[in-house]
């Protein structure tokens, strides 16, 4: 085995290893998003779990695809998907959270403060009510 094929083989092994590591990490973050969705106590914390963990997991999977293919086509479409996901997922989560807060979805019992709700008793029980 000459030197050139050895270099090629090790480069391919490095590429496959990086792809595998990114795949496993991304799938683990997707699973953590599902666990948070099932286990979190109320709507607002579930939104955090779904948006942050799911988006990071999918971004890692897209990076795995980019590393695996390493062509211009795959790099452009993969990074387009990453940028689009990172731009739109917080917007969608914010729309859902704001709408459900306006409709009166209650937070968990252990919630410390609710800054959108002016007369929240958990604020006034610790401190004097803030005047705005």
């Amino acid at each position: 085995m000459n030197d050139a094929t050895l270099t090629l083989l090790s480069a391919s092994l490095l590429q496959d290893g990086a792809t595998s590591a990114l795949l496993i990490c991304g799938a683990t973050f997707c699973l953590l998003g599902g666990v948070g969705m099932a286990r979190m106590p109320d709507l607002y914390t579930r939104i955090q779990a779904a948006t942050k963990a799911g988006t990071l997991g999918v971004a890692l999977l897209m990076l795995a695809a980019i590393v695996h293919f390493a062509t211009l086509d795959a790099i452009v479409s993969g990074s387009l998907a990453i940028v689009f996901l990172f731009l739109t997922a917080p917007v969608a989560a914010h729309v859902i959270a704001r709408a459900s807060h306006r409709m009166g979805v209650q937070a968990s019992r252990r919630t410390v403060m609710d800054q959108l709700n002016d007369d929240s008793p958990s604020l006034s029980s610790h401190d004097p009510p803030q005047t705005r």
């Binding site: 496959d16 792809t19 595998s20 590591a21 795949l23 991304g26 799938a27 997707c30 699973l31 998003g33 599902g34 666990v35 969705m37 099932a38 709507l43 939104i47 779904a50 948006t51 799911g54 997991g57 999918v58 999977l61 897209m62 795995a64 695809a65 695996h68 293919f69 062509t71 086509d73 795959a74 479409s77 993969g78 387009l80 998907a81 689009f84 996901l85 739109t88 997922a89 969608a92 989560a93 729309v95 859902i96 704001r98 709408a99 459900s100 807060h101 306006r102 409709m103 009166g104 979805v105 209650q106 937070a107 968990s108 019992r109 609710d114 959108l116 709700n117 002016d118 008793p121 958990s122």
Partner: protein, 114 residues
């Protein structure tokens, strides 16, 4: 495709299937409509990642374009559902009996806030 990639693709697929099952559990049993919308958003996000895994395991980079289109459709669907929540008056579907003894009272009736 090497053995390493095959094994890690299978492991990633199994993990994401478990995440999807947990999301479907929340869709089936979420106490309110917004929980179901968010769980559906999570399942759609996991589907985008699953199509990336499918692109790797078949060796076709065309499936990465499917991820972009799925992301677009998911965003439009979630924002449309949020707008529907915002413009619906009755809060019958938002009642959660488990949280009704919360010290934080229900939010005030929708005021005009900008």
């Amino acid at each position: 495709m090497s053995d390493l990639l095959t094994i890690s693709s299978w492991i990633a697929g199994v993990l994401m299937a478990l995440g999807t099952l947990l999301g479907i559990f929340r869709i089936a049993r979420g106490p309110g409509l917004a929980d179901r919308i968010i769980a559906l958003d999570l399942v759609g996000t996991i589907a985008i990642g699953a199509s990336a895994i499918f692109a790797i395991s078949t060796g076709e980079p065309v499936y990465l374009l499917m991820c972009v289109v799925l992301g677009l459709l998911l965003f439009v669907g979630t924002v449309a559902a949020g707008y529907y929540l915002l413009t619906t008056k009755g809060d019958n579907m938002m009642h959660d009996p488990k949280l009704s003894s919360s010290p934080i009272q229900s939010a005030p009736t929708p005021k005009a806030r900008s």
